[in-house]
Symmetry: D2
């Protein structure tokens, strides 16, 4: 009901706040008897954290994964896998009286409205730090999918107004870099778009009505902080296409039924058809600015929020492993639902 779990058969439950004791998760439904490479899981966390680029400002602390249960002698046992990362930057209290200001386009106001209480420590549960548990959980899911030869790769395909026709894993284009540099100088931020491709998915994954494979992917993506849109296959562009251009004709390629084109994005009627699954995810600009912003406090009084603290100019480069993780969780869930182990 409170929605801190995702999946029906491969279920990740996450917990933890930005400046609380720890961030972590529990996976229920991980297949038994699989070898787990713990350093791979850690490497995904490092990938999420890394951001040597000038335009990201990750926490300095290392995110050291601890696995608490579910493994024995390097293999999954069928028991739930719990893991966590302790926060080195814990703040039992936070007496900053600016804590009362509702930061624009953050979750401060809505959390307070919903729960009647607010955890002001760096956004608490609504912080981007929560994605750490997604990435760890997703790395476990990927470990399972690797045994089935399923691969998930996300790349950056847009930063601000700059389109990147061939999605990249990090930004090297000088024009974009100088755009980001200027934003940083201005204390401003930008959005972007991530494209993701899933290959190796067998035909038959997904459910035909409400739990369509792409519907579950959409939910998973929109559950990531700052995501504003999702499209798969031909996406929004399909709206202006004709059926005769858009339909993917079936052909027999060496005994395997394939489609000539793939506007369907690998999913038809909610079920995978064996072609590559691909989709795009839009991220809004980071809401934390290094600029003053007008707002109100919890008493409804006008106040000014000063820009200070850490600041990502653009979240997209660091969101790649998060997008992959969420995709992996969805695909793993549907694999288990299909009876694959």
């Amino acid at each position: 009901m409170s929605g801190n779990s995702i999946g029906k058969a491969f279920i990740l439950t996450t917990f933890g706040e930005s400046h609380g004791v720890a961030v972590g998760g529990v996976i229920d439904g991980f297949p038994a008897n699989l070898e787990i490479n713990v350093s791979y899981i850690q490497s995904e966390l490092d990938r999420r954290r890394s951001g040597k680029e000038f335009f990201s400002s990750p926490r300095i602390e290392e995110d050291k994964l601890e696995i608490l249960s579910g493994l024995f002698e390097g293999k999954s046992t069928g028991a739930p896998i719990a893991f966590l990362v302790y926060n080195q930057d814990q703040r039992p209290s936070d007496y900053d009286h600016l804590a009362n200001a509702f930061r624009p386009s953050h979750a401060d106001y809505t959390w307070k409205q919903k729960f009647g209480i607010r955890d002001p420590r760096g956004g608490g549960r609504a912080s981007a730090r929560e994605t750490l548990a997604r990435v760890a959980g997703g790395a476990f899911a990927k470990s399972f999918l690797h045994t089935k030869n399923i691969k998930i790769v996300a790349g950056i395909c847009q930063i601000g107004e700059y389109q990147i026709p061939d999605p990249v894993s990090h930004i090297s284009e000088p024009q974009i870099l100088s755009f980001l540099e200027q934003l940083k100088a201005d204390g401003d931020t930008t959005g972007g778009v991530i494209a993701c491709t899933i290959s190796g998915v067998p035909a038959g994954l997904g459910e035909p009505v409400f739990d369509k494979l792409h519907a579950d992917l959409a939910k998973a993506m929109l559950s990531i902080n700052a995501v504003k849109g999702f499209e798969y296959g031909s996406g929004f562009r399909s709206a202006s296409m004709k059926g005769s251009e858009h339909n993917d004709l079936f052909v027999n390629k060496n005994g395997v039924i394939r489609t000539l084109t793939n506007h369907s994005g690998g999913i038809q009627g909610g079920i995978s058809n064996g072609e590559d699954i691909y989709f795009r995810v839009a991220f809004k600009p980071v809401a934390t600015l290094m600029k003053d912003q007008d707002t109100v406090n919890s008493d409804g009084e006008p106040t000014v929020l000063k820009g200070k603290g850490r600041h990502d100019v653009c979240v997209v480069p660091r969101a790649l492993p998060i997008v992959e993780a969420m995709a992996a969780l969805v695909i793993a869930d549907h694999m288990i639902r299909n009876g694959e182990r």
Copy 2:
């Protein structure tokens, strides 16, 4: 697991195939003691079916709703509300040997791959007729939301390449009509985009992590046949905006905390903030063409699919009540989850 239910607290389960006995649903979690106007529910079904326009070709049969349970003397009792519409065009078998051809960009092939059997009667469960149960279920949800002054209105904002700045409930623009007429003459089809606005939602609806309100809306929309994309608030456009343009500043308007702009689309951190919720949904062109198409049959042999039968040039006008219904189901679910009755 098989995903014929949606919602966690206000749960709609649907059943029924295109040319089976009946299509219907069961609502579990409908609040007790509410008056139900059955003719309103019927009117939503009629609205879905209607399509006097030349470019839609609805079934001729009337969709007569029967309510089987959950009401007593016009009020909900707290028991599940079951309803159905009998199919007048039932076909216990369908000996059409074209049944074996996999229709391009339909669910025929993937269903067969998943379940190892295919119901060839008009697409079976994957048919658009399944949406009838969504519209009826959504009409019950709307009945509940009306008591809370929540309103949901969907409109057409794009047909093919034609943008419609002010979303409309039906097409009257001559240019678009002649575009559709030409498509019909060609046996072809087009896609489109629907915009939807939900007003009157109190602040505090939705959950902060995986069950973000917009994530559940995304899933609900992507679960509709032919939908390829979803965006809310500033959507994909936000990717090219700066944080300083995009952030919605808080202000105190006569004692109520509001935002000056609404790029957030009424949802921040997954939780409603009291502003209008709005989103857009992209539909691909209808896959059924009145043209011959190359394909393969279930033996993998090349064959030609002849265009015949009923044919919608564009699904978007008839999808308006479906989009509204799915939105209503999501909002009702989160209202109940919040303890509202």
Copy 3:
């Protein structure tokens, strides 16, 4: 949340009131491509209804099953299977002003307290007629289990104070019959106990922590109206046993690991071990008496409830198919959860 569904992978949702339009259900998760013998499903309904014995007073109406979806040419398609039985004895309203009296040990008072409204038509949703959907759903589950050679047989092992060492499917013992005759003459009722054995369950079914196989059986049994207790294997008797008597020693019988005794009732640590599963279910005496009873009405005023209408002296004989149905639903659910199709 409102609990009209049972199961996580093989899910039965039921609907319908005693004197409403119809009683029925939807099964989501039924394996595709299985032949369904509809007359077998009907025969289970007939078995539930039958009660030629003087001490049961079933409704005279026939319970004619209609299957609405999920089958094509006699086979399951993977789509949800919906079914219903129309009530021949529908009562749109019930003006009996005795309707206001809360019947002792029925659900009238608690339903009103929970939902703020009461459906007085024969107990509405809380009526024994609701079990019809359980029996039909269970018959589908049994159809699946038959393909796996799993058999479920319930028998009567106690009526009032009369123990029946070898459980029977109907009462023929003269002493018990005359006990029941006397009760009937007195307008009184009695309880009883049902024993159930499930054979052919492979080792490995059930989950080790909260969803232990016997825990799910317990819930399923206790969800049947009038059930007051559940025990499996050695049950309550185990409380007075020593570990050295109770432990089931493992032996190798022709290459299969078996246990010498079966105090475990076929389940160890929540998971089946391949031995017969057996359990016992206690039913309280029927609450509807043909005697006057003191009670209060919905205004809290004292009133007298007159004995009238149909009246079962003992519910146990007619509950056999219900116990079997609920067991079948639990076993089918865990089979699907284990990836069996």
Copy 4:
């Protein structure tokens, strides 16, 4: 699907093995803005562990609770509450070759059959140590229920063949103590029965069909290791009662509708009626004996299991807080489901 969570609205997910890194849990759905007395939670863990009596042999290690998330300045924030206890007696591997012997009436064999792998470290996930997370989770549930004046008290009502008419929280009766002493000397064990009463539950809790309040209690109790039976209200005894003795007549006591007797055990039609809820839970004798037992190993070869290690003569005294915890989780879940916060 793997069943490491319980509850639909107040959801406890547990993790951890006997000799793994840690045992713990995550509560999703805990009401926001409640004060949490952490030392109370710890005291419940201590109560579970304590067993100064000669007939229990708890681990020597202290169970020190760490709370990882969900609290801010002593209050719940609406975020999930994660907690754990590190195992001081961790064993990364366990080379004991006896590990291969399947212990009689434990979960060793069935776990291996289900998952194809076995964690031999003290029973792994199937160990009684798993109940630590239940007790901690239940203590949080109790903290919530205390704010609603709901009280849960369990007591011992039978040890072996000794009935204890007035349930007690620990054994002082000399006859029973000498019975237990003799068992200990013999390396043997015994079972027992726990009675539990829940007072202060408002009328209207529970759902009328599958999620009857007592059905959820039954499942929760049967999910505890070693539990073999459950009965509520008049229980198995009701089978031999007449309806005229068993029915609880309604009366108006100073404006409140009450029942004259309480054979219903506070629940009618699955919904609480405001009277005390009470039930009884049967525990089998502890399966670990200090005696040699015949068994087979994982190759199916006969072997002898030596009695050694820690050994509880009777689990019942230490199970009191576990029974209370599970009851608290069920009641809290239904409170939240009813919209109580």
